[in-house]
């Protein structure tokens, strides 16, 4: 073989290697060199190298590098680094910010700086979140305290309202609240032309009870009468302590006859009831005056009407007392100047 022929073969093989490196579609080993093992190995290694580089360029790190030596070893090291970095990135994504990359120069430095910054940012976010939660908890506690205070205030207001309208000894309405309710009921009765009655009740010889058995026993007697009223009356009736041993009951939608019947029931219950004093049992009686006569609204104020309305019941009560006590007397409107005894 001449030197020129040898140069031609070297040139052909060099071009084959260059084409393996440069062309997008790698050439095969020419048929006439197919029996040269080292050339086949070189060709196979270059194909493997191309395949790996192409896959890696597209983010696929899975292909095996099927040749050894410096180039193969270096590529495997690069592959190991990139695979390891992928695994570390997954760990960072799962919340492990202690992961650090080594041996990859600027890339490692940048990755590590990013993870450190992520860690710091996340810690700052968590710190702020904790602060926010703490503030929220404090706010909720403050709201609870305020709500409790509001509830206590409402409860207190309710208690004051109740105290303002109630007689503390008997638990019945006091005179002022009774008058207020009574004016409302009078207006309603006149507007709807409905009957309305009032009963005045006075405990007979109450002074004797106080003098004989003491004021505590007197209080017990008053409480007993109040309890009988509460137990015996309709829910629509309005009983109140009018003053001293005097009670008053407003009965909406009740005529004098109805009211007198109720008064008689109350009288009997009080007559048969007993109060257990410190040394003995106390029995009492009571007198009742009933009235259902209401003046016309056009001529007088409600306050005046109420005053006269109660006054007539009081007159009937006076008659009951005068005629022997322990009685029910109804104001007789036909006579115009007083009550008559109910038989």
């Amino acid at each position: 073989m001449s030197l020129a022929e040898e140069f031609a073969i070297v040139d052909e093989l060099s071009k084959l290697v260059l084409d393996m490196l440069m062309l997008s579609k790698p050439p095969d080993v020419p048929e006439r060199f197919a029996s040269i093992d080292s050339l086949q190995t070189l060709h196979a290694n270059l194909l493997s190298l191309r395949d790996f580089l192409s896959a890696a360029a597209n983010g696929d790190l899975s292909p095996n590098i099927n040749f050894k030596g410096y180039i193969g070893g270096t590529l495997k090291m690069l592959q190991a680094n990139l695979r390891h970095m992928t695994w570390q990135t997954k760990m960072v994504a799962a919340g492990d910010f202690t992961q650090r990359i080594e041996f990859m120069g600027d890339f490692a430095n940048s990755f590590n700086a990013m993870v450190i910054q992520l860690d710091l940012t996340l810690k700052e976010v968590m710190r702020k979140d904790a602060e926010l939660k703490k503030t929220n908890t404090e706010l909720l506690r403050e709201i609870t305290i305020r709500r409790q205070a509001e509830a206590a205030l409402l409860e207190s207001e309710e208690a004051f309202k109740t105290m303002a309208i109630t007689d503390s000894l008997t638990g019945l309405y006091n005179r002022r609240h009774f008058n207020h309710r009574a004016e409302t009921e009078i207006s309603r009765a006149l507007r709807h032309k409905r009957p309305l009655s009032v009963i005045m009740l006075d405990i007979d010889f109450f002074k004797r009870v106080n003098d004989t058995y003491g004021h505590h026993s007197g209080d017990l007697v008053l409480q007993m009468v109040a309890n009988i009223l509460k137990e015996s009356l309709r829910s629509s009736d309005i009983p109140a302590r009018y003053g001293g041993e005097e009670f008053i009951i407003l009965l909406p939608d009740a005529t004098a006859v109805n009211a007198a019947t109720i008064a008689e029931t109350l009288r009997k219950r009080i007559e048969t009831a007993t109060v257990k004093g410190e040394k003995c049992t106390i029995k009492i009686t009571s007198s009742f005056g009933v009235n259902d006569h209401l003046a016309k609204a056009s001529s007088k104020s409600t306050e005046k009407i109420l005053s006269e309305f109660i006054d007539k019941a009081d007159q009937a009560l006076y008659l009951a007392k005068k005629s022997g006590r322990n009685k029910v007397t109804v104001y007789n409107n036909t006579k115009g100047d007083g009550g008559s005894l109910l038989v």
């Binding site: 410096y70 193969g72 070893g73 495997k76 695979r83 695994w87």
Partner: protein
């Protein structure tokens, strides 16, 4: 064998601080490899290559199992286990362990060990040599997962690769 003289115990390693107050706990890597390769030489002469490799694998597995008991048995989380493993390997100068793939459910792992105690820097021999490491990794993974593992070195410094790569598959 019933009457054993060399059953492994950490006590057999002795009190190094007491015994080497001046030279300390470390020695040269050359001495370590001298011992390992002279063992290989003599064992191979007496037992053949395959048996020698098997002994190295089993010794590595025993070492991995014992190191797990000593250093990692309290760790329950896999990622914590790996992190601890990486630190221990680095601190003890065994190598730089890194994870390429880890699927705990399937029991499938790809690990690399760079700057490996046994092989990094050895001449190219055309075959993987880290049989002791294979056993060592198998012992560690078996201890952690409770399942037997088959560990195989697929790339080694001795086959021209720059890092040792191991596949570990749970045997089901």
């Amino acid at each position: 064998m019933t009457d054993r003289r060399y059953k492994f115990s950490w006590d057999l390693l002795g009190d190094i601080a007491l015994g080497r107050p001046n030279l300390g706990a470390s020695t040269s890597l050359e001495v370590y490899r001298l011992m390992q390769f002279t063992f290989r030489d003599v064992m191979e002469q007496h037992l053949g290559t395959e048996k020698t490799n098997q002994i190295f694998y089993e010794a590595g597995k025993l070492a991995g199992t014992e190191l797990y008991k000593k250093a990692f048995s309290a760790i329950k989380d896999f990622h914590e286990f790996i992190k601890s493993l990486q630190k221990t390997f680095r601190d003890m100068g065994i190598g730089i362990v890194r994870v390429e793939e880890a699927d705990l459910e399937k029991g499938s792992f790809v690990l690399t060990v760079s700057e490996d105690l046994d092989c990094s820097g050895l001449p190219e021999l055309g075959y993987e040599i880290c049989t002791y490491d294979e056993g060592f990794i198998a012992g560690l993974l078996e201890s952690f997962t409770g399942n037997p593992f088959e560990v195989k070195e697929i790339d080694c410094w001795c086959t021209g690769d720059r890092t040792c790569r191991f596949t570990a598959e749970a045997i089901k």
